[in-house]
């Protein structure tokens, strides 16, 4: 299928990748040309993203837009097929903003700058590729393409334990993505027709057992990335060892790839299995929130604390995904966008502090507010956003998720009450660890052991933080800014997820005991599973 309009998405994907090519030949002695070049490429890409969506994206439509499809490897039915909808469009914008700012944030990289910026641009490209790919094999390629630069960035520019962290990261995610490949191919070959297109895969009629198995495989793959307890331990290591700009992207964009994929694959392609797994997702979400919040409080390393806080916040995304309501699914997307902005702010500011103190151990900091009032103010703003203060984006996300789960008719009242109350405990825990972080780092007397001169934020640094904080506050005060970008789409997703609900009423499964659901399904229908797999 050839579209008549300009192939925006191909351009958006290829531009950063092609921009890498001249980097080795740039005349650059001090590493200054290359950083300007990379920043220019990032900015241009971001401008292109905005222009493309502004010109050709229709907010009122829930279907795929800017669709492109070309035969790539026709022998196996692989198509170069790209499109965006309300689910991916805000995330592509987020990617553009955060990656561009991350390039600006890595202004001080002096070790092998050419390679660094080249990898950043490759990562830029791959992330956009993940969000726009509409072919399951292509999605897998993009997903894998994204791992390579991240691995190298952590392993080359990371902290003291960078090799351990990078290896752990690559092993976890690579093992996870094997499941994407297997499940994706299994779905492609299921039935009579062979197709790799996501939309066509969604139209196939799978047996329930097969769906459950596929769902579980995807859940493991995306659960590693999101991350979901107990698959999360790569994240604190990777985030804390990565250089600050890479942490910004890891927390700001990469975790969202998993949330996006959960909605795209698990809800949209496998709605029947989603019915069985949704309560499990809600419970895992609650576990994420409470477990990670508590663990965050016990961390003494600044970045590790923020990393665990990311895990806790992604728990809300899980609850939203499990809600079966427009509000909840919309809230999940909003929470992803909002957490992307907030986590990027906090990790960036951590990097700013680290450049000056050369330590991330909070007990070795203290009293830094006196010398760095601007950083203190920005850090406070970021923390407040993270603890879901009304008027900031985190609050809107969590509010809609809470309302989404309470208004859901898929669960019993007691189950909803328990989920909401436990999630609320997490909301109380978040100020505990965030404010104690501020207290240890900024308040009180100056720590005399900090021998470095703590200069306040440079204009460039303040600018980066403000670029992230302005949308955070903007969304908090006027949420329609973002909600209108995905509203039509999430409504459709929730409606689709709910179409399967009446079916469940006829089955002898009780949602009042949701934690028994998933295991019993697998146990009871094991035969069907086996036969369907053997088919």
């Amino acid at each position: 299928m050839m579209s008549t309009q300009f192939p925006w998405l191909t351009v958006l994907f290829l531009f950063p990748l092609l921009a890498v090519l001249p980097i080795p030949f740039l005349p650059d002695k001090e590493g200054k040309t290359v950083r300007s070049y990379a920043l220019g490429a990032g900015l241009l890409e971001f401008a292109l993203i905005i222009y493309a969506f502004w010109k050709d994206y229709d907010l009122q439509s829930s279907g795929f837009q800017l669709v492109e499809s070309y035969a790539w490897v026709p022998q196996i039915g692989l198509n170069w097929s790209l499109a965006v909808d309300g689910l991916s469009m805000p995330l592509v914008l987020l990617t553009g903003l955060i990656t561009t700012l991350a390039i600006l944030a890595s202004w001080k990289i002096s070790h092998k700058p050419r390679l660094f910026y080249a990898l950043m641009l490759v990562m830029y490209s791959a992330q956009i590729g993940v969000f726009v790919a509409q072919d399951i094999l292509m999605f897998f390629f993009m997903w894998e393409l994204e791992l390579v630069p991240v691995y190298l960035l952590i392993a080359t520019w990371g902290g003291d334990r960078r090799l351990y962290a990078a290896t752990k990261f690559i092993l976890y995610t690579a093992v996870g993505s094997v499941f994407i490949l297997i499940a994706g191919l299994a779905m492609a070959f299921y039935g009579d027709t062979l197709t790799l297109n996501l939309h066509e895969l969604g139209l196939k009629d799978y047996s329930l057992g097969f769906e459950v198995l596929m769902y579980a495989a995807f859940l493991v793959a995306f659960g590693v990335k999101l991350p979901i307890f107990p698959l999360h331990t790569w994240l604190p290591d990777a985030h804390s060892e990565a250089p600050a700009p890479v942490s910004m992207i890891l927390a700001g964009v990469m975790l969202k790839m998993a949330g996006y994929a959960l909605i795209r694959f698990n809800i949209e392609l496998l709605p029947n299995a989603h019915l069985y797994f949704a309560p499990v997702l809600a419970i895992l979400g609650v576990v994420n929130i409470i477990y990670a919040s508590l663990t965050a409080f016990a961390q003494t390393n600044l970045k590790r604390r923020l990393a665990y806080s990311s895990i806790a916040h992604m728990g809300f995304v899980l609850i939203g995904i499990a809600s079966f309501t427009e509000l909840g699914v919309g809230g999940a997307v909003l929470q992803m966008v909002s957490h992307g902005l907030i986590a990027a702010t906090l990790f960036f500011l951590t990097g700013v502090a680290y450049e000056r103190t050369h330590t991330l151990a909070m007990d070795r900091m203290g009293g830094m507010a006196k010398q760095m009032p601007t950083v203190f103010a920005l850090f406070t703003a970021g923390s407040l956003a993270s603890l879901a203060l009304p008027g900031m984006s985190g609050f809107v996300g969590e509010l809609t998720i809470f309302l989404g789960i309470t208004t859901s008719d898929a669960y019993s009242t007691s189950f909803k009450a328990v989920v909401v109350l436990l999630a609320a405990v997490g909301v109380i825990l978040s100020p505990i660890y965030l404010l104690s972080m501020l207290r240890q780092v900024f308040y009180g007397e100056e720590n005399v052991e900090l021998k470095f001169s703590l200069s306040d934020a440079k204009p460039r640094e303040a600018f980066i933080a403000l670029c992230l904080l302005v949308p955070i506050i903007g969304i908090g005060i006027y949420p329609k800014l973002v909600t209108q970008t995905y509203d039509v789409k999430t409504t459709q997703v929730a409606a689709q997820a709910r179409t399967a609900l009446p079916l469940i009423a006829e089955r002898p499964i009780h949602f009042t005991q949701p934690h028994f659901v998933a295991p019993s399904v697998i146990g009871a229908e094991a035969k069907e599973l086996v036969s369907s797999v053997l088919d």
């Binding site: 331990t233 508590l294 009304p390 008027g391 207290r439 900024f442």
Partner: protein, 625 residues
């Protein structure tokens, strides 16, 4: 013109916010040349503006029907979250008080914070604070009010943490935030629940909703309790009362606001939520119990304090406890009147206290004395404020309580007993403070104590006059909030004796306070063991803080350490073990590849032999095994 002023009423909080934003160039240090003063002047000017606008609107709305302004904030599916403002005599009247007190407090701050290098930052926070308070007065939406209460929590955090390099401030700001946050989140849960029961989140719709929507007793009780929790934190009620005490580490002009109108903001929201509390006897009983415990407990704590600000601030909790009782009994008009008279008088007392602190540079009452002749205006302000709070002279609270016990409302003996107790204890405490600070011989720090400069004196004297005029309000109150006019409960003995008895209790308190033995200087603790035990018990707030340290705080930290340990050694440990096993396996196996073909042949032979034996055993000796 009328409509214009009323329709643009939302500008009034906007002015204050604008003031806060305008100070940014100074507070961030972009403009240094002029010093921080212009920032303060901007704020003052905009507060005057909001006072004028608010007053004009207040006069215009007087006697008119309430109006509403609706903003659609978030629409998703069938949910339409709106932010509604109510323009009514009550809401504009509340706004009037906020602008007035805030204007006076900001003028006061001009003198109090004169030497502080971060004056601009202080004013930007005050502007933000004021904006949130004004918006709460106007808000008719629980969602908006919740958001604004969180803004107040935030402002408290900022203002208490203003001198962030001081050691006590560090924990005080955090504790204030966390304590209020616990209450706020519970309120938020109530909000979510209300919304899922299909209630519009507008206060004005809640009354209708609560009459028609059937809820199970348990649900309505839980709902009520959740909604109570927010104001409990905000009004510093037991068990969330300790933050107010600690918050006294912040600059005094903020304490003026906090002890008078900020705590009232929480109670104001509580009053608006009152229809929900009528759904369940448990929630209204909870209000009464919380209020009673706080009123009795904190008025006792107040009499043992050494710090002048803390001695006064504990009585704030006590009076708000009375407000809670009134709301629990459904007597919302009384609650609102109490809030009004308390706010004005308490603001005045804190101005007086602020003058003392700025002159003496100390908060320890044991090191003060003899200030009456040196600071007459301050003394006057203290006396008027104290007298207006205690039922003894016909000033503010006297008339409010007179309305309460006049027979129109149901006043049971236990409530009367609490009133007597709080009145006597507060009178005792204020007399004690008065003696310590103003009477007696001047001490080292109070010997040279001139009266404060005009920036502080002017608002203080103005507020003194306002406090003296405040009885007008309870006297002419026309019961706006009560849906039905209360009936006279007859002319019982209790009602006839109530007011005289209350005045008597105040008198007893004053006499006891005047005759009790005072200790000054460093040795303020009594030598007698039993007496010292009691004083310590009260001075340390019944050791509630230590109790929290031992229970909630330690539970959270222990739990967090347990999960961190679990995460590191079990979850991650398992992963590392797998990794280690793989590595060790590889390392171990590498020694088997020695490069000698004999050993390879041997290995192959042994392997085949084993396989053969196994196969033989499988086929032939299966039955033997």
């Amino acid at each position: 013109m009328t409509q214009f002023l009323l329709q643009t009423i939302w500008w009034v909080p906007g002015y204050a916010l604008l003031g806060a934003i305008l100070t940014l160039p100074w507070s961030t240090g972009i403009v240094r040349r002029t010093g921080p003063r212009p920032a303060a002047y901007f704020n003052l000017f905009l507060t005057v503006l909001s006072f004028i606008h608010g007053s004009a609107a207040f006069i215009l709305i007087w006697g008119q029907e309430p109006q509403q302004l609706v903003f659609h904030w978030l629409q998703a599916a069938d949910l339409d979250l709106t932010l509604t403002l109510e323009i009514s005599p009550v809401s504009l009247g509340a706004m009037e008080i906020v602008t007035a007190i805030s204007l006076l407090a900001q003028l006061f701050a001009l003198g109090y914070m004169e030497k502080d290098w971060a004056l601009a930052r202080f004013y930007s926070m005050m502007g933000f604070f004021e904006a949130a308070l004004l918006a709460i007065a106007l808000s008719d939406s629980l969602l908006l009010s919740y958001g604004l209460l969180e803004m107040l929590t935030l402002s408290t955090y900022f203002l208490v943490g203003f001198w962030y390099a001081q050691p006590l401030v560090v924990t005080a700001a955090r504790d204030a935030f966390l304590t209020k946050r616990v209450g706020d989140i519970l309120l938020f849960m109530g909000l979510v629940a209300l919304s899922s029961y299909g209630a519009g989140l507008n206060f004005s719709e809640l009354a209708d909703w609560s009459e028609t929507y059937p809820l199970s007793p348990l649900t309505s009780a839980l709902l009520g309790l959740a909604l109570i929790a927010g104001p409990t934190g905000k009004c510093a009620q037991f068990p969330l009362n300790l933050w107010l005490d600690e918050a006294m580490e912040g600059p005094n002009p903020a304490s003026i606001m906090r002890n008078s109108i900020v705590v009232s903001a929480g109670a104001y929201v509580l009053i608006k939520l009152q229809p929900v509390f009528t759904l369940s006897p448990i929630s209204s009983d909870a209000l009464i119990i919380i209020g009673s415990v706080t009123a009795i407990g904190t008025s006792l704590m107040a009499i043992a304090q050494i710090d002048i600000k803390r001695a006064i601030s504990h009585t704030t909790s006590a009076y708000l406890g009375l407000v809670f009782i009134a709301v629990g009994l459904g007597q919302v008009d009384i609650a609102l009147m109490l809030l009004f008279t308390h706010a004005i008088a308490k603001a005045l007392m804190f101005m007086s206290v602020g003058s003392i602190i700025s002159t003496v540079s100390d908060q320890n009452m044991g090191e003060m004395g003899g200030l009456w002749s040196r600071m007459p205006a301050t003394t006057m302000a203290f006396v008027v404020g104290a007298a207006s709070l205690v039922v003894i002279l016909p000033l503010g609270t006297f008339w409010t309580v007179q309305r309460w016990v006049s027979g129109l409302w149901q006043v049971s003996p236990w409530l009367f007993a609490i009133l007597l107790f709080v009145n006597a204890t507060t009178a005792f405490g204020f007399t004690r403070v008065f003696r310590l600070v103003f009477l007696g011989e001047p001490q080292l720090k109070t010997r040279r104590a001139p009266e404060v400069a005009w920036q502080m004196a002017l608002p203080m004297v103005t507020l003194t006059v306002m406090t003296l005029l405040s009885p007008v309000v309870p006297l002419r109150w026309s019961l706006w909030l009560s849906t039905t006019t209360p009936l006279a409960n007859g002319d019982t003995l209790l009602i006839r004796l109530a007011l005289p008895l209350l005045v008597l209790s105040g008198g007893v308190g004053v006499v006891l306070g005047a005759t009790t033995q005072l200790r000054r200087g460093g040795w303020v603790r009594p030598t007698q063991v039993s007496f010292r035990f009691v004083q310590d018990l009260l001075a340390y707030d019944f050791y509630i803080e230590r109790l929290y340290d031992l229970t909630v705080v330690s539970a959270v930290s222990v739990l967090s350490r347990v999960t961190a340990w679990f995460d590191r050694f079990i979850v991650d440990g398992f992963v590392n073990l797998v990794g280690l096993a793989a590595v060790m396996g590889g390392e171990g196996l590498k020694y088997s590849s020695s490069g000698r073909s004999q050993s390879y042949v041997l290995t192959i032979l042994v392997g085949i032999g084993l396989l053969f034996l196994l196969a033989m055993g499988w086929t032939m000796n299966w039955s033997l095994l």
